[in-house]
Symmetry: C2
Subunit: 169 residues, 2 copies
């Protein structure tokens, strides 16, 4: 059983939870989420979530970055895991810092590496390509998915303000 | 004392270190480092490190993002802590994923918020403004500092390739 006390570790400047017995410092750092907007012929790939939170709602393939991964690698892995698709990334759409959750979310533009091919992957109930006007906005899982889609669309329309692509929410 | 075993936690897809007694899952996620190139009249602010690693070497003000911070907020805080300077950020210079260390480093362009004012802060031996030709390249603490400075210079010179500002190293 961990036995944490609150103290300033040696060489640090602020209080952390430190284990009394082994000295383990439980640094709480933000986590990176990486995901992708995969599009083809104007349609966008969305996944319906099989797991909580927001099971049954639609999302972009995305998830927590694993140790030693680049955000781009994480986005490719998530597309592979959740939609069984092989894609190529084409640029960063936006960075959303969800301060409340300590998450920094990075979304990339992507196209299929070869033929348009996808399938239901882990953690996913359904995968489909949606035309912009058919996106089920009321059934989108997370606000950052909506913002990313809007920003993707603005980029497609040539209106993206690249100096403000990092947003704190 | 923690008593970890290696297993796949419920709802996960890969092995993690899980505490046998309390169920704590020791997820290993990359950490974000945020920092800034603060410049004025062509000169760049550098800090000489008071702490390991690389004590005595010069670096840009930068450090680990804290919980609930936006990368931009972390960069401002690090400039304040290490160089006692108040600055305004002007854009993202680059994202460096140091895969070996599981770090995603984000560096921003910055200018002084008011008068040019700085001082030796925590973890710092010396703070100084360097003209480009006077930067002590042989005494720079970390490779990503050198890359960020080169990229900053390329941006100043109008040559930055913004589509490739995220680099895995």
């Amino acid at each position: 059983m961990k036995d944490f006390e609150t103290k300033v570790p040696d060489g640090d400047t602020r209080e952390r939870a430190v284990c009394r017995s082994c000295g383990f410092v439980d640094y709480q750092n933000p986590k990176i989420v990486a995901g992708a907007v995969v599009s083809h012929a104007g349609k966008i790939l969305l996944c319906r979530r099989a797991i909580e939170p927001r099971a049954g709602f639609w999302t972009l393939p995305a998830g927590f970055l694993e140790a030693h991964e680049q955000p781009e690698e994480g986005a490719l892995r998530e597309v592979r895991e959740e939609a069984c698709a092989e894609v190529v990334l084409e640029g960063l759409i936006g960075i959303y810092t969800v301060a409340r959750l300590s998450q920094v979310q990075m979304f990339f533009r992507a196209r299929f590496a070869g033929d348009v091919s996808f399938a239901v992957g882990e953690e996913t109930l359904e995968v489909a390509m949606f035309a912009w006007e058919d996106i089920p906005w009321a059934e989108i899982a997370f606000p950052s998915v909506t913002w990313t889609l809007e920003r993707w669309k603005a980029g497609v329309d040539g209106m993206a303000d690249l100096d403000r692509f990092s947003v704190r929410v």
